[in-house]
């Protein structure tokens, strides 16, 4: 009798692990994505692409009318690109602190990361690139800031350069034209980090008037599997007063807000957020959203409003009732990491008013999704259509190997699009031949 019950249970669980139909990503674009019922798996759907890097002469693909080439290569896990007012380009080389092994699964996850090329050590520094003659190739390359601690976000306000290390925002005095900062930074404020520090990247931007900084702090788990106590102050966008370092949570329930930017026509703050894994290939869509003051976006208790996730216990129906849906789904497991508005781009009429998003891609879906840079058109300060592919070809033609993974995106001073690639260890530059340029960088 007991054995019959066992066999019945075995059969039930085996069924739930079978491969299933995957929805086309375009059913999950925009404000009303199709959300299938969640599944609890024995082995969640996965495809771990094999990291191969770029062969000689290989480059990502861009639409007709644009051109792409390597701006610079040979980096140590470049994550963020940022353009200074004089045209110098900063490249943040970084990777996460060593992840603790809490469960046997964490050991397996480490092996998966290694295969996919995500485990390479970061430089823990910021490199500076200067293209003096304006030919799209840097003529000067220096180590701008060294000995950082898993840095990610960077923003310049006046003569202060802010760097978001994984555990604090540091400020440095920046003199226009300088190529190296040796003075130690001053801590503006600490940020949530150890223990664990599962989502370690701290995205950073400044308000248009420069008075406040905004920091994205990711959750300390996929969905509270490390306990709710270590989620204190996390999965939130923080607002930091630049003069005093005083900070407060602007919005919460944002699982991993990896990119922040102000929409230039409305002055509103937008974020890209990486949603949770392991409940299906089409759950939960990652998203782009305006960040509303005081709002709760659901994590860990629910997603896209009131879709409850039973994995977070004890449940909080009071918070689920308050949870609001984000503005715009990007489809599931694309892992958006880079965000820049396009208004200053010189890439033609197609990209006049919208946002570029670097989709790093993940291994939590089969077939893979993301691994490209997309453009979401805006009208009147809101998304107005489905995402369009801009930079593709990071996956091999078979969809099983990965040549590179896009991370941070930025516009350079000529209006070209820069893309950090942390598997190819390259910064790519997509430009429009014939576009008027702003001229070479000056000192």
């Amino acid at each position: 009798m007991t054995r019959n019950a066992c066999l019945a249970l075995l059969g039930l669980l085996a069924l739930s692990a079978c491969s299933e139909v995957v929805a086309p990503p375009d059913t999950q674009y925009g404000s009303n994505p199709v959300l299938p019922a969640p599944t609890q798996y024995l082995i969640p759907p996965m495809r771990v692409p094999l990291m191969t890097g770029w062969g000689a002469g290989e480059a990502p693909t861009v639409p007709a009318g644009l051109r792409i080439q390597a701006f610079a290569t040979g980096f140590m896990h470049p994550r963020t690109v940022y353009t200074l007012p004089n045209g110098d380009v900063l490249v943040v080389e970084s990777n996460g602190p060593k992840a603790p092994i809490y469960r046997p699964k964490d050991y397996i996850a480490g092996l998966v990361k290694g295969r996919a090329g995500a485990g390479a050590p970061g430089g823990n520094r910021i490199m500076l690139l200067r293209d003096v003659d304006g030919d799209g190739k840097p003529d000067l390359r220096t180590t701008f800031l060294d000995h950082l601690n898993s840095p990610y976000g960077v923003v310049l306000v006046g003569d202060q350069l802010y760097v978001a290390n994984t555990d604090a925002i540091l400020s440095f005095r920046y003199i226009p034209g300088e190529t190296r900062i040796t003075e130690p930074g001053v801590v503006l404020t600490d940020l949530p980090a150890a223990p664990i520090n599962h989502h370690w990247t701290k995205s950073l931007t400044a308000s248009p008037d420069g008075s406040r900084l905004y920091v994205g702090v990711g959750s300390n788990s996929n969905v509270t599997e490390n306990g709710i106590a270590v989620e204190q102050d996390r999965a939130a966008v923080w607002e930091v007063d630049r003069a005093t370092g005083f900070k407060r949570i602007l919005a919460s329930g944002l699982r991993n807000p990896t990119g922040l930017a102000f929409e230039p026509t409305t002055g509103k703050l937008w974020a890209i957020v990486n949603e949770r894994d392991e409940i299906g290939p089409d759950l939960v869509p990652d998203y782009l959203t305006s960040v509303r003051e005081g709002a709760f976006y659901g994590w860990p208790y629910s997603y896209f409003g009131n879709h409850v996730d039973v994995r977070a216990q004890p449940q909080r129906p009071d918070l689920v009732a308050q949870a609001i849906a984000p503005d715009y789904a990007l489809s599931s497991h694309v892992a958006p990491l880079g965000l820049v508005f396009s208004q200053a781009a010189r890439l033609g009429e197609n990209y006049r008013d919208g946002v570029f998003i670097g989709e790093h891609g993940s291994w939590d879906r089969n077939p893979l999704n993301g691994y490209k840079v997309v453009y979401v058109p805006f009208r009147d300060g809101r998304p107005s259509g489905p995402p369009q592919n801009v930079v593709t070809g990071f996956l091999g033609p078979d969809g099983k190997t990965v040549r590179g993974r896009p991370v941070g995106v930025a516009l350079d001073h000529t209006g070209a699009l820069l893309i950090a690639d942390d598997v190819g260890n390259t910064v790519w530059r997509a430009s429009m031949p014939g576009a008027a340029t702003a001229g070479p960088a000056t000192q």
Partner: protein, 139 residues
């Protein structure tokens, strides 16, 4: 010379089973408290129990190869094999994130495994009889 009355595999089966039974206790504690530490305890106990089960299987082969093993106890063999297979399944369930790693399927499997193992323990943790040097067997 006194005949050997001890088999290599039996104490290993008992040790591994102890860890798997303990996982039921930590599962119940997680179910009642939602404290993640108990969930982590459970998956490590199941992993440790399965590793010892693998060593016990090798020890049984050694007992057979050295002709120390007598008549097989097929009921005990069935109880322990089913318990080991369900525990492999349970390890995957316990590797989920959050509540569903334990409740309800993980907890149910841990309970079934504990019952099977306690039955096997009551019967003596042994998959076969000891072959005596005189040529007879001892239960």
């Amino acid at each position: 010379m006194t005949p050997s009355t001890r088999l290599f595999h039996a104490p290993l089966v008992a040790s591994g089973a102890t860890l798997l039974i303990a996982a039921l206790v930590t599962d119940v504690l997680y179910w009642r408290t939602a404290l993640t530490q108990w969930e982590n305890f459970s998956i490590w106990l199941i992993t440790g129990g399965l590793l010892l089960a693998a060593v016990a299987a090798l020890a049984l082969l050694l007992d057979l190869a050295l002709r120390r093993a007598g008549r097989m106890h097929w009921l005990d063999f069935a109880l322990l094999t089913v318990a080991a297979l369900l525990s492999v399944l349970n390890a995957f369930i316990h590797s989920r994130d959050g509540y569903t790693a334990v409740v309800p399927q993980g907890l149910a499997l841990s309970a079934i495994v504990a019952v099977l193992l306690l039955a096997a323990g009551w019967r003596g943790w042994s998959l076969c009889a000891v072959r005596l040097r005189s040529g007879g067997t001892q239960a």
